[in-house]
């Protein structure tokens, strides 16, 4: 129950102001198509340098939570999901808006998001200390395998092609080795002076997530959003609350599905929303209404995509394994303040850990309160031409990357990685495992070296890294995640080929 002791810290003037700003800003950013939660959080990191670690994390956490919920605004009013997590919301939300029930759909989406989000954060509060305690037993070989597990799980589950996902992870791990070797001081892969100090994680995160979006907007050419905002008529919040209470099945399935999916590294909010929508439809007594503007569809999808936010941080805060790309960006935000997740976080910086987690709890309530008022404005922002968005994101990326260490080298690295990532994405590679490799690479390497030294003095490398219950378990999970993804990929390909043949 440690979290209760730090609850008051959330309400210190600056922290609360940042929480409020992050929530409102996140709602608006989330509603903007093309600005994903990951990119929004990555672009915000430079603004946290001048803040205390806990305040920086509050800002990032609030932005993460509210961008996911804010995506529902454009999904409902414009039929454009603000983020992939809101795809399922579009199915019934936009239909409701077209029927003149836009306000009701928005109210239900924010209320369901808050319920799902609070449940998810409570799960984070109660699961995290238990797992962090367990993580104390980890030695270098286990930490090495955990880092590899983080890269392979995201690489295999988050990518359309397992091989390309794993290859993206390898590229990230290689990029992490650029610079001077920590132990021998040897130069590694420094083919340009800008790389002398290695690749700065924040500059890389900005480049890998923001620049491909800019180029995607450029690639669309001179095009309007083409979406009309549906006007929102007034609707009683009390009636929406009563409607939510009348739909416990959708709320329950959404919340539980989102929480479980959030705990699995690599499976994002998009899956959570779609699975919850599908399951609610299966169990609902009004199946035929789904897709035609049924409130249960909106409730299930939004409860699920926000319920996964808290649990997705469990592996990050306990084992240093980011469960999602946004969690990876948050890890970057922690590392720049010299804070390492795991038991160290809860033993040495409990104020940071608990105030951050508590702020996410308060943030859910703020998001619900302000979401309804900001929705109209957010929908207007979502109509901003892509040319303006692309120029804004590009300039923010340049200033953000430069402000990390006042180095033009970081700006060059950011731009090169971003352009490279855009083309890699077009060829089926994925940014998430690459980022994970970049972040977890130093952890994997230092534990590999440390473990090697212990092994040389004791049982030998093969025995040290490949035996022992925990090592075998971790290796088995790595193999199982790759095998499962490969099997799923083969299955879907066979299915597609069969369909193509029949067509």
């Amino acid at each position: 129950m440690d979290f209760i002791f730090y609850f008051g810290d959330v309400f210190s003037p600056l922290s609360f102001l940042l929480l409020l700003g992050g929530t409102i800003g996140g709602l608006i950013l989330g509603a903007t198509p093309g600005l994903s939660p990951t990119m929004a959080v990555a672009l915000l990191i430079p603004f946290t340098f001048h803040l205390e670690a806990v305040q920086g994390l509050i800002l990032l956490g609030a932005a993460y939570t509210s961008t996911v919920a804010g995506g529902a605004v454009s999904a409902i009013l414009l039929k454009i999901p603000g983020a992939p997590a809101n795809i399922a919301t579009t199915l019934d939300g936009h239909q409701m808006a077209k029927q003149g029930k836009g306000a009701k759909a928005l109210q239900l989406s924010f209320l369901a998001s808050a319920v799902g989000g609070i449940f998810g954060v409570l799960l984070l509060i109660f699961l995290t200390p238990l797992l962090a305690e367990w993580a104390l037993a980890f030695g270098p070989s286990h930490l090495f395998w955990l880092a590899i597990l983080g890269v392979t799980v995201i690489g295999s589950l988050d990518s359309a092609s397992v091989v390309k996902g794993l290859l993206s992870g390898c590229i990230g791990l290689w990029l992490a080795t650029i610079g001077f070797d920590d132990i021998m001081g040897a130069q590694r892969f420094i083919f340009h002076p800008s790389l002398g100090g290695g690749i700065n994680i924040i500059a890389a995160l900005i480049g890998l997530f923001a620049i491909p979006q800019v180029l995607t907007m450029f690639a669309k050419g001179r095009r309007t959003t083409g979406a009309e905002v549906i006007e929102v008529q007034k609707h009683s919040v009390l009636d929406a609350t009563k409607e939510l209470i009348r739909r416990p099945l959708a709320l329950g399935i959404g919340t539980i599905t989102g929480s479980i999916i959030g705990l699995i590294p690599g499976v994002g909010g998009q899956i959570a929303g779609l699975v919850a929508y599908d399951q609610t439809k299966k169990f609902s007594s009004e199946k035929e209404k789904f897709g035609k503007g049924h409130s249960e569809g909106v409730i299930a999808a939004e409860a699920a995509n926000n319920a996964m936010v808290g649990p997705s941080l469990v592996p990050l805060l306990t084992l240093s394994i980011p469960g999602s790309p946004t969690a990876a960006v948050l890890l970057g935000g922690l590392l720049i303040h010299g804070i390492f997740p795991g038991s160290d976080l809860f033993d040495n910086h409990p104020d940071v850990a608990w105030t951050f987690i508590n702020s996410m709890l308060v943030g859910q309530v703020l998001m619900c309160l302000f979401g309804l008022y900001v929705a109209g404005l957010a929908a207007r922002v979502a109509q901003v031409p892509q040319s303006v968005m692309a120029a804004i994101v590009l300039a923010l990326s340049v200033f953000g990357a430069y402000s990390v260490q006042s180095s033009m080298g970081d700006v060059y690295v950011m731009a090169c990685l971003g352009i490279g990532m855009y083309f890699l994405e077009r060829f089926g590679f994925s940014a998430a495992p690459l980022v994970l490799g970049l972040i977890l690479g130093p952890i994997a390497e230092s534990n590999f070296i440390q473990g090697g030294m212990i092994a040389d003095a004791t049982v030998g490398r093969a025995s040290y890294f490949l035996s022992g219950g925990l090592n075998i378990f971790l290796i088995a999970v790595v193999v199982a995640s790759v095998a499962y993804s490969a099997w799923m990929e083969l299955r879907s390909r066979r299915y597609t080929t069969k369909e193509e043949a029949q067509a």
């Binding site: 430079p46 390309k164 794993l166 080795t177 590694r188």
Partner: protein, 151 residues
């Protein structure tokens, strides 16, 4: 997608993999390259597999870059490269940002170029944006950026 695009893309990644492996296995001290060797080995195998599939025409994932997309992108990328690699340092961040921002709006804004109102709107948007950036980075965050001309 065009098979040759897949071959080119995966071939480039494979070439990088071979270069990484070559450096890892030839550079000294060997201890410093122990971990890179481990990665490079997996890198080369996976990149070789991807390249092989592309050559055989079996690559299914990834839609590549169409001619229209490429042509749409070229002016924006050119402005971006000049902005990042030349103008930001030579002209100063705020001046370069204002110019790049205005040019990008002019290229990609769907509003008609023939109307004076459009140009005024673009100029005003640029001015407001640069003012916000100045307030945010120079005044609020005290980030000292290169300032060569103007501010």
């Amino acid at each position: 997608m065009n098979r040759s695009q897949h071959i080119f893309g995966s071939g480039l990644v494979f070439a990088v993999g071979i270069w990484v492996a070559w450096i890892s296995y030839t550079q000294q001290p060997a201890e410093a390259f122990l971990f890179p060797r481990l990665i490079a080995s997996v890198f080369v195998v996976l990149a070789g597999w991807t390249f092989g599939k592309a050559v055989l025409g079996l690559s299914k994932v990834g839609s590549g870059v169409s001619r229209t997309m490429f042509l749409n992108m070229v002016p924006g990328v050119a402005v971006m490269l000049i902005y990042v690699f030349l103008a930001a340092k030579a002209l100063g961040f705020y001046t370069a940002t204002a110019i790049a921002f205005f040019i990008l709006l002019s290229i990609y804004d769907p509003a008609p170029h023939s109307e004076a109102k459009t140009w005024i709107k673009r100029a005003l948007t640029t001015a407001v944006f640069v003012a916000v950036m100045y307030g945010l980075f120079a005044l609020l965050l005290s980030v000292y950026t290169p300032r060569e001309i103007l501010f």
